[in-house]
C-alpha cells in the first residue's frame, strides 16, 4: 500500500517536473528577444525601498524608483537624476533642489516639489514600527532620528523640514551640516515614490514582531510600489518570479527591453545550471569555483564587479562575556581569516583589516591587526578569568549568497572549527535570510557572534563605518562612545583632507575596540549570456536594466 503510494507520489512529482521543464522551455522561446530574465540570490523582502536594506529588494527598487541624485553607471560618482541641480547654503544646512520638469509617477501623479516633501515628511514621520534600524535602515543611519522617536531611538534627527519653494524647487533644511547628505540621496531607499500610491495602499501601516521584523498591513510594499523609473512593477509571486514592465512614458531614455523578470534562485549551483540551460539570461554572484566553467563556455561571459564590500563577524557586546575586550580580542585571534579568504574565494579576495575597503578614502594602513593565533586566544580568555571552553552562540544565514560570502555555511564551519581550536565552544544557529536573519542580527536577538557583511551603497566612508558605528545599534550592543563621537565629527567635516584623517583615526579606534571582526573584501562576478549587451556592473550594485539589450 505504502509502496504504491510512494510510486504515485514519485510519478506525480515526475510529471510535474516534466510539465515544468516543458513550460519553461516554451516560455524561454517566447520571451526570446524583448525580455531579460535575471536570477538574483534571494527574494526581495519588500518592494517599498524605504523599509528595506537588502540587495534583492534594492535591485527591484533600482528599476522602479529614482532618487533626486544617482551615480554615474559603474562608479560611485554622484550625478543629477530627478533633481537637475542643487545648491547648499547656510553652512551646509540648507539644500535647494531644482527639479526635473514633466516627470510623472507610474500612477500618473506628477513629480514636483510637493511629492519630494511628501517623501521626506513620510520618512521623518514614520510610526514606531517603521523606525528601528531593522526596518528603515538607511533613513535611520543617514538621518538619525524621527519626529516622534520610538523607544530605543536615541540619536537626534538630521532632517528639520522640507519647503515647497515652487512646483519645481524644493528646499531641505537640516539641523546640522552634513557632508555625506547629497551622496546618500542616491540610495534607492531614499528614492521618490508616488505620494498618492503611498497613501492609497497604506504604506505607513504595519506592526513590528517581537524580534524586530516589520509586517506591513497595507499592500503598498508587496503589490503597489510606484516610482518614476524606466520600469514599472507588474507582478510578484514569492517563490516564482517578479515581473517588471517597460514604462513607455518614461521621461528619459526608454528601456531597451520590454520586460524584466527577476527570479530568486538562492542556490548557487542552481543559478549556474539555469544559465547553462538558457532558462535565465544572467545572474548575480558567480561562485569562485564556477568562474572557470563559465569562461570555458563559448556562449557565456563573466562581468567583474569592482570590489566594494566587506564581510565581517559581528560581536554582540550586550551578551556576556563579549562585553570584555579581552574576549573580543580572543575572538579576533581565533578566526582563521587568512585560510578562509585564501581557500574559499578562488583568488578574488583579500583579507580585511578594517570595516571598509582600501579603495575608499579614510582607510588606515596602521590599524591593530589580529593574526590567527589559537594559543593567544586561549591565553586571553584565561586572562579574562573564564574557564575554557567558553560557550558562545554563533549564527549564520541560510538561503542567501553574497559576494563577500558565497556560501555562508562554509565560512561559518571554517570559523567555528578555528574558534573551537581557540578555547571556544561554538553553538551553531541559523535562520533564513528573508526575513528573519538580518532583522534578528540588527535587533540584537541573534548570537554572540553573527556572520554578515556589507556592500557599499555610495562612495563615502560614512556609508561603511558611519552606517555601522555612528549611532548606537543593537547589532553590536554598547560600544565605546568615542567611536560615535568621532564619526559624527567626520560627517560634519567638509574639508576632504581633514575628513580623511578623521576617518583613519576612526578606523584605528574601531579596530582597537573590536565591535566585530572584518575578514574579507571580494571582487564579485556576474555571469551573462554573450548575447546580453549593455550591462554595466556597479561597485554599489546600482544597476539599472534600462540600457540592457540582447
Amino acid at each position: 500500500m505504502r509502496k504504491i503510494l510512494k510510486a504515485g507520489v514519485a510519478l506525480g512529482a515526475l510529471s510535474l517536473l516534466v510539465a515544468a521543464v516543458a513550460s519553461g522551455s516554451a516560455e524561454g522561446q517566447a520571451q526570446a528577444k524583448d525580455t531579460l530574465v535575471f536570477a538574483t540570490e534571494g527574494e526581495p523582502t519588500f518592494l517599498d525601498p524605504a523599509i528595506v536594506s537588502d540587495g534583492p529588494s534594492l535591485r527591484v527598487a533600482d528599476q522602479i524608483t529614482e532618487g533626486l541624485v544617482t551615480v554615474k553607471p559603474g562608479t560611485t560618482k554622484i550625478v543629477p537624476d530627478l533633481a537637475t541641480s542643487w545648491t547648499g547654503s547656510n553652512g551646509g544646512k540648507r539644500w535647494t533642489f531644482k527639479l526635473r520638469g514633466g516627470v510623472k509617477f507610474h500612477d500618473g501623479t506628477p513629480f514636483n516639489a510637493q511629492a519630494v516633501c511628501a517623501n521626506f515628511n513620510r520618512w521623518y514621520n514614520f510610526p514606531a514600527a517603521f523606525q528601528p534600524d531593522s526596518v528603515a535602515y538607511y533613513y535611520y543611519t543617514v538621518f538619525g532620528g524621527y519626529r516622534k522617536p520610538a523607544q530605543g531611538i536615541t540619536s537626534d534627527p538630521l532632517f528639520s523640514s522640507c519647503q515647497v519653494v515652487n512646483a519645481s524647487t524644493a528646499r531641505i533644511n537640516l539641523r546640522k551640516p552634513s557632508a555625506s547628505f547629497i551622496a546618500a540621496l542616491s540610495l534607492p531607499s531614499l528614492s521618490m515614490q508616488s505620494p498618492t500610491a503611498l497613501k492609497k495602499y497604506k504604506a505607513n501601516a504595519g506592526t513590528l514582531s517581537a524580534d524586530g521584523v516589520l509586517r506591513p498591513s497595507g499592500t503598498y510594499a508587496t503589490e503597489h510600489p510606484t516610482g518614476t523609473g524606466p520600469y514599472k512593477f507588474k507582478s510578484w509571486k514569492i517563490g516564482d518570479k517578479l515581473v517588471l514592465e517597460r514604462n513607455d512614458s518614461y521621461w528619459g531614455k526608454k528601456a531597451k527591453l520590454k520586460q524584466v523578470i527577476l527570479r530568486a534562485i538562492p542556490d548557487n549551483a542552481a543559478r549556474l545550471q539555469a544559465l547553462q540551460s538558457g532558462e535565465i539570461d544572467g545572474y548575480n554572484l558567480v561562485e569562485p569555483q564556477d568562474i572557470s566553467t563559465i569562461k570555458r563556455n563559448s556562449s557565456l561571459k563573466i562581468i567583474d564587479r569592482p570590489a566594494f564590500n566587506v564581510g565581517y563577524v559581528t560581536i554582540n557586546s550586550a551578551k556576556a562575556p563579549m562585553n570584555k575586550l579581552l574576549v573580543r580580542q580572543a575572538v579576533a585571534h581565533g578566526l582563521d581569516r587568512e585560510a578562509v579568504v585564501k581557500s574559499f574565494y578562488g583568488g578574488r579576495a583579500q583579507v580585511a583589516t578594517q570595516f571598509m575597503p582600501p579603495q575608499l578614502f579614510g582607510w588606515a594602513k596602521d590599524v591593530k591587526k589580529y593574526p590567527y593565533n589559537p594559543a593567544r586566544s586561549r591565553q586571553l580568555l584565561q586572562q579574562a578569568g573564564l574557564t575554557l571552553p567558553v560557550e558562545i552562540e554563533f549564527w549564520y544565514p541560510t538561503d542567501i549568497s553574497r559576494g563577500y560570502m558565497p556560501d555562508p555555511q562554509r565560512n561559518f564551519q571554517a570559523f567555528a572549527a578555528s574558534l573551537e581550536n581557540s578555547g571556544f565552544k561554538v553553538v551553531a544557529k541559523s535562520a533564513p535570510w528573508r526575513p528573519d536573519y538580518v532583522a534578528r542580527v540588527q535587533a540584537g536577538n541573534a548570537g554572540h557572534l553573527n556572520l554578515i557583511g556589507w556592500t557599499g551603497d555610495f562612495g563615502d566612508p560614512d556609508n561603511f563605518i558611519g552606517t555601522f558605528f555612528r549611532t548606537p545599534q543593537n547589532t553590536w550592543g554598547p560600544i565605546n562612545p568615542k567611536i560615535h563621537a568621532i564619526l559624527n565629527a567626520a560627517l560634519r567635516e567638509t574639508d576632504l583632507e581633514k575628513r580623511t584623517l578623521t576617518y583613519q583615526q576612526a578606523n584605528r579606534l574601531i579596530m582597537a575596540n573590536l565591535p566585530g571582526v572584518p575578514y574579507v573584501h571580494t571582487k564579485p562576478a556576474l555571469a551573462f549570456k554573450k548575447s546580453v549587451r549593455g550591462y554595466v556592473a556597479s561597485p554599489i550594485e546600482l544597476e539599472p536594466f534600462a540600457p540592457v539589450s540582447k
Binding site: R2, A269, A270, S292, D407, F412, Q413
Partner: protein, 302 residues
C-alpha cells in the same frame, strides 16, 4: 493439511524445532538474505569501530587542501578525496554510518513499540478498534515524508532527535495495521478460546499467547522499515532538517553540502549517495529473506 502430511513433516524434522530456529535454517539457504546480512553486519561493524577504522577525525578541516575554491578528488592520503572544507571524505562516510544506523534503529523502535501497542490493543479489545484504526487511517492519508517534515517542525525544527521521532511516528500506522490484522487472525483460534475458557485474563492472553504467534509479519515489516527510515532520514537531512550542527557527518547532511559542487566535484555527492543505496539495499534483502523464512506457507519447503 491432512494428518498424514503432518506426521510426515514431524518425522522428517524430529526433534521438533521452534519458529525462529526454523526460520534461520531457511534463511541460511537464501543467498540474498545472507548477502543482506553481510552488508548490514559490515556497516554495523564500521559504525561501531569508526574511531579505529577512520583515518582522520571526521570534523578535522584542512583548508590548505582546497584548490580553486573546491575540493581535490581521491589521492593517496585521502582515498575518497576531501570535501569543501578539506575534511577527509572517507572518515566522514565511516562516521556517517553511525548516524544512519542509529537513526534507523531508534526510529523503527519508536514506530514498532507504539505501533505494536496500538495495533494489539485495537485487535484484541474490539471496543477501541474503531477509534484507533480511524486515527491510523488519518495518519496514512498524509504522505509519509510530508508528515515527517511537519512533525519535525512541530518538535521545534531540525535536529537528530526530532528526525528520529518524526520518522518513528510516521511508521506507527504501518505497524499498527499489521499487528491488528495479525492479532485478528489469532484471536478466534482454539488455543485462545481455550485460554479464555479457563479464565486467563485478557491482558495475559494477549501478551503471552497471541503476541508471540502474531509478531513475525511485524518483525519483517520492521526490517524493511529500517531501510525506508534511513532514506527518509537522509531526505530530511538533505532538506536541512537533520542535525543542526552542519559539521555532523550525517549522510543526508553531507549530500546537501555537495549540491554546490556538482559540476566541479561530483564524487562528493556520489560517495554518500552510494553509501545510502548500499545500506538500504542490505536491509531490503534481509527483510525479504526474513519474510520468506517466516512465511508459514513456505514452512517446510526451501
Amino acid at each position: 493439511m491432512s494428518v498424514a502430511e503432518i506426521t510426515e513433516i514431524a518425522l522428517e524434522q524430529a526433534p521438533p524445532t521452534g519458529l525462529w530456529r526454523d526460520a534461520f535454517r531457511r534463511m541460511r539457504r537464501n543467498p540474498g538474505a545472507i548477502f543482506g546480512l553481510f552488508v548490514i553486519g559490515f556497516f554495523a561493524f564500521v559504525a561501531i569501530f569508526a574511531p579505529l577504522i577512520a583515518p582522520f577525525d571526521p570534523r578535522h578541516q584542512d583548508l590548505s587542501l582546497i584548490v580553486d575554491g573546491c575540493c581535490p578528488g581521491p589521492s593517496r592520503d585521502h582515498l575518497l578525496g576531501v570535501d569543501d572544507l578539506g575534511r577527509d571524505e572517507l572518515s566522514r562516510l565511516i562516521y556517517g554510518a553511525r548516524y544512519s544506523l542509529l537513526i534507523g534503529v531508534v526510529a523503527v523502535t519508536v514506530g514498532l513499540t507504539l505501533g505494536m501497542f496500538l495495533g494489539a490493543t485495537a485487535g484484541y479489545f474490539r471496543r477501541l478498534d474503531g477509534l484507533i484504526m480511524r486515527l491510523m487511517d488519518i495518519m496514512l492519508a498524509i504522505p509519509g515524508f510530508l508528515m515527517a517534515i511537519g512533525i519535525v517542525a512541530l518538535f521545534g525544527g531540525g535536529g537528530l532527535l526530532q528526525v528520529m521521532l518524526a520518522i518513528g511516528i510516521v511508521n506507527v500506522p504501518i505497524f499498527a495495521r499489521l499487528m491488528r490484522g495479525s492479532i485478528l487472525g489469532q484471536r478466534e483460534t482454539d488455543y485462545v478460546l481455550a485460554a479464555r475458557a479457563i479464565g486467563v485474563p485478557g491482558r495475559q492472553i494477549l501478551g503471552s499467547h497471541i503476541m508471540p504467534n502474531a509478531i513475525s509479519p511485524v518483525i519483517v515489516a520492521g526490517t524493511l522499515a529500517l531501510a525506508t527510515s534511513i532514506i527518509d532520514a537522509a531526505g530530511l537531512g538533505f532538506l536541512g532538517l537533520g542535525p543542526q550542527d552542519p559539521a555532523t557527518p550525517e549522510w543526508g547532511t553531507m549530500l546537501t553540502g555537495t549540491v554546490r559542487y556538482l559540476q566541479t566535484q561530483p564524487l562528493l555527492a556520489i560517495f554518500p549517495g552510494l553509501a545510502i543505496v548500499i545500506v538500504v539495499m542490505g536491509f531490503n534483502l534481509l527483510g525479504d529473506g526474513l519474510r520468506e523464512a517466516l512465511d508459514p506457507k513456505l514452512r517446510g519447503r526451501a
